[in-house]
Symmetry: C2
Subunit: 152 residues, 2 copies
DNA sequence: ATAGATGCAAATGTTTTGCAGGAAA
DNA sequence: TTTCCTGCAAAACATTTGCATCTAT
């Protein structure tokens, strides 16, 4: 099984904070780590259900919050009012296709430095930022006569 | 009374779409135009109430949607899950103070062109974007011992 | 044994919708 | 007098919380 590092990292976090390791937390972590990226709470819930029916929505929310606190996950909210989680990693921004829901990550030093400059100009100290480009991805542009497949 | 242009523009939109001009719509437009910027639905509702008690929340929401359709307002949603409205204008981005809620608008050609370049790299056609820098504004940095005044 | 976790149901907060009555054209 | 609006109450959503019960430690 892959993800040993993350499993150990969660175990350590739980221990350090005198929290308990439960089958629910393991199951949710497993599903989260196996997702390709930007998974919603609902999707996590549904996937967890398959293997462990009975685990509640509440526990999914609480556990994802825990994974964020432990530094394993990051919360993201794009323009559709649902929270998505991604595996914690270097800072980056997103391209979101408004037709098929595809999400691509990117990183741009040039933009980062422009941000610093702008913040300084207005006297702001930047803690974090959010930068999303919404549009049509390549494949959606190619078949633009087709109606949206699974808006996200 | 200022805002004649906007009032006329709304009237024209209503006419073109066979919609009706009502005292509620006028009142809400008036409050919206008099706000300095980035006003929430709740705030619009409360201000409208002062002059016109009886106007409902529903009408505020519906009218703001109408103003957006008419191109007079733009909807914005920052990290706090409430919708804000700003007077429609040239595209721009935002600096948001996480302590006092202050919002500053900025515009940066350099960033815009970097965005184009990135989108092209991934085959995306950008329709719109969202770019927000969250941090501490100058005055909040100065008195950083003080607890947050009105988190927004 | 005991602190902490779970799952249900109910609450939350924001926005939307159904509908019967009311106002603009 | 017809079409569109309004306001209320209820519904919709996504997420959170209270609480009695259960379970790692």
């Amino acid at each position: 099984m892959a993800h040993e590092v993350e499993h150990r990292s969660l175990a350590r976090y739980l221990e350090e904070h005198s929290l308990k390791r439960t089958k629910q937390r393991d199951a949710i972590l497993e599903v989260f780590l196996e997702a390709t990226g930007h998974i919603t709470s609902e999707e996590i819930y549904k996937r967890v259900q398959k293997e462990h029916p009975g685990i509640g929505y509440t526990t999914v929310y609480r556990t994802m919050k825990l994974l964020c606190d432990a530094g394993l996950a990051n919360e993201r909210r794009f323009d559709d009012s649902v929270t998505r989680y991604e595996i914690a990693q270097e800072h980056h921004d997103h391209l979101v296709c408004v037709r098929c829901g595809k999400i691509v990550e990117f990183e741009c030093r040039m933009i980062e430095s422009s941000q610093e400059e702008i913040a300084a100009r207005y006297g702001f100290q930047v803690l974090r930022h959010r930068h999303e480009l919404y549009g049509h991805c390549e494949s959606c542009r190619e078949q633009r006569e087709t109606p949206p497949s699974s808006e996200a």
